[in-house]
Subunit: 361 residues, 2 copies
């Protein structure tokens, strides 16, 4: 039986993906509106599992790249996605049969849905992170030698670029400066991959998981159940802090939203403080000066009453939040994975400790 | 009769193009070595006039982009040129029959010769400036609606980019940041143009003129004649100052070599000072605080005894130089031309006065 992404599924995916987006990946509201509009016009999008994809079938990830602070004000029109898709297909010289999400996040889970609806293409139920990360090389495919090339970029003015680099770290450098010049955000097509490559390198079921998280949260709200407990159960996560946002520093620099949030503990965390630093996404959470959760594990702040995930650009003084920590995909816990996205890469001189090792019973 | 560029022609072109290069366009020594080596291996390059090119025949300009200060230390291997050429051909989807120089300059007049020798293609005797200018949109073709797209870039590491923009000013922005990331210089392919487009927009005979200037200088030196007079005659130029270099400020910023040179007058200019400011190329010359020559006219410093043109990165304290001012191509004197390369574009609040109007008898 065909599985379809319709309007309700988009609502749930956008909400759930924002939980997995660890503060980044874009505003779920903006992404949702775009995808819903595309589905209204063109009909629902078929979602296939990796098992339905042939070894040779090509797919490409479509995403928004740049500072989420700017994404909020610069909603893409959709034509940029079409342009980035066809540029990739033209470079490859073969038909691209599927679209996929590079990461989980409010915008970056739903932008590929928008494009898939427009082009009448199916999506594959997988992504390249199982969460959101800020840089181009931070994709599980990169750990298995899949290249981001051809990397296609398009802006709302009609400018475009096709980049080819010797490795994915160079791609980050080149693409970031183009994204900055395109007005701090850009639509990209990247990591064109075959079914065979995905089978080895992708994180499977991310869209389904996002939908399940979103639906669980929606149902818990409707039934007036404990939303935080529901979230913990569905994400296999831990509530590591409960606090009030007392300070937020944020600056958009070199194409990233960087900053930190300070929480003052409430309830059983009264008397403690938590400091959460981010680069588009939340990178680490320190309790009273000690890092207790770090990349690659997921750190998401959710609103205490509704369980609504809060993106880094939405953080405001006075918010009462629960800090949810969730285990990352096993790919990220390999030596290579930690080299690419571990705490040391981001400048934190600590060893990575898996979240369930610290908080699991 | 076929006209061929052999080793002697390259020597003369590199020397003459550095006179037209107004301090920029790259070191003639580096450019010469590369072209001579390519001709040794692959034979001489055919040079055709615009009259021999059919309306539909396509050509592309190959050049080095970036700060000349870095070009000196980072000599391109040649493979980057081949890569930039084929990327342009692939984007266009049609055969490119000719190579041409985007500007006159020590490297940028000879890099296309290097590539033409390698690929066995003829060159067209024209360029897009009749001199050198620092930015992508400063090409006569731009005045006639020819686009720099597809703009291809390649570095010595194997990275490459193909850019497409809505106008040539955007191209400058995108390409400059990529060039900076490629290590401050990059090989580019740009302004793919048909014979028809060149007929309207190009500056004809620039390579021949460079060769004539180089040969004239060489002959004058051999015959112990007055090299400066010979240069003046062949370039239709004026010696506007004779001085000693007493101060030179130079910094590489945002992918450009910017700075200024201060000359203390000698001979009949004793007691006066000249200040020459540059952005890769010399932009304006002020005598005792008053601008007496400015873009788009050409300003080149030549060594007083040998007539050797001095590029901005070669300037050293104590050099005794003649400042040569030469009229630019008429295309640059139109309202549109002055908007793109006139003194106001570069931040000088003066009206452009043609050099022959100020110094002509």
């Amino acid at each position: 039986m065909k599985r379809l992404i319709g309007i309700q599924e988009v609502e749930d995916i956008a909400l759930g993906a924002a939980v997995l987006g660890t503060g980044g990946g874009g505003d779920p509201y903006v992404g949702k509106l775009m995808a819903i509009e595309a589905i209204r016009q063109h009909g629902p999008v078929e979602l296939v599992t990796i098992d339905e994809v042939d070894d040779d079938d090509m797919s490409v990830a479509i995403a928004m790249m740049g500072a989420p602070t700017v994404m909020v004000e610069k909603m893409p029109g959709g034509e940029e996605c079409v342009s980035a898709f066809y540029a990739a297909q033209s470079y490859l010289g073969k038909t691209i049969k599927y679209v996929y999400s590079i990461e989980a996040g409010g915008i970056n889970s739903t932008i590929p849905i928008t494009l898939a609806a427009k082009l009448g293409l199916p999506m594959i139920d997988l992504d390249g992170m199982g969460r959101a990360f800020p840089e181009i090389q931070m994709v599980t495919h990169n750990l298995f030698g899949v290249t981001a090339t051809p990397f296609t970029m398009a802006d709302e003015k009609g400018n475009s670029a096709v980049l080819s680099t010797i490795d994915n770290r160079w791609m980050e450098t080149f693409a970031r400066s183009i994204a900055v010049n395109m007005g701090a955000t850009s639509i990209i097509g990247a990591y064109a991959a075959s079914g065979k490559q995905h089978r080895e390198a992708a994180v499977f079921g991310t869209l389904s998981l996002a939908e399940t998280i979103g639906k669980t949260l929606r149902d818990a709200r409707a039934a007036h159940m404990d939303v935080i407990k529901a979230l913990k159960d569905v994400t296999k996560g831990y509530v590591v802090f409960h606090g009030k946002l007392v300070d937020i520093q944020r600056r958009t620099v070199a194409g990233f939203a960087r900053g930190e949030a300070i929480l003052e503990g409430i309830g059983e965390d009264a008397g403690s403080r938590m400091n959460i630093q981010f680069q588009n996404e939340n990178l680490m959470a320190a309790r009273d000066g000690n890092i207790i959760v770090s990349v690659p594990d997921l750190i998401t702040m959710v609103e205490e009453d509704t369980g609504e995930p809060i993106t880094t650009e939405q953080l405001r003084y006075g918010f009462r939040v629960m800090v949810l920590a969730m285990p990352c995909h096993p790919h990220w816990r390999s030596a290579k994975g930690l080299e690419v996205v571990g705490p040391k890469y981001f400048g934190y001189d600590v060893e990575y400790v898996p979240v369930e090792q610290r908080f699991g019973s």
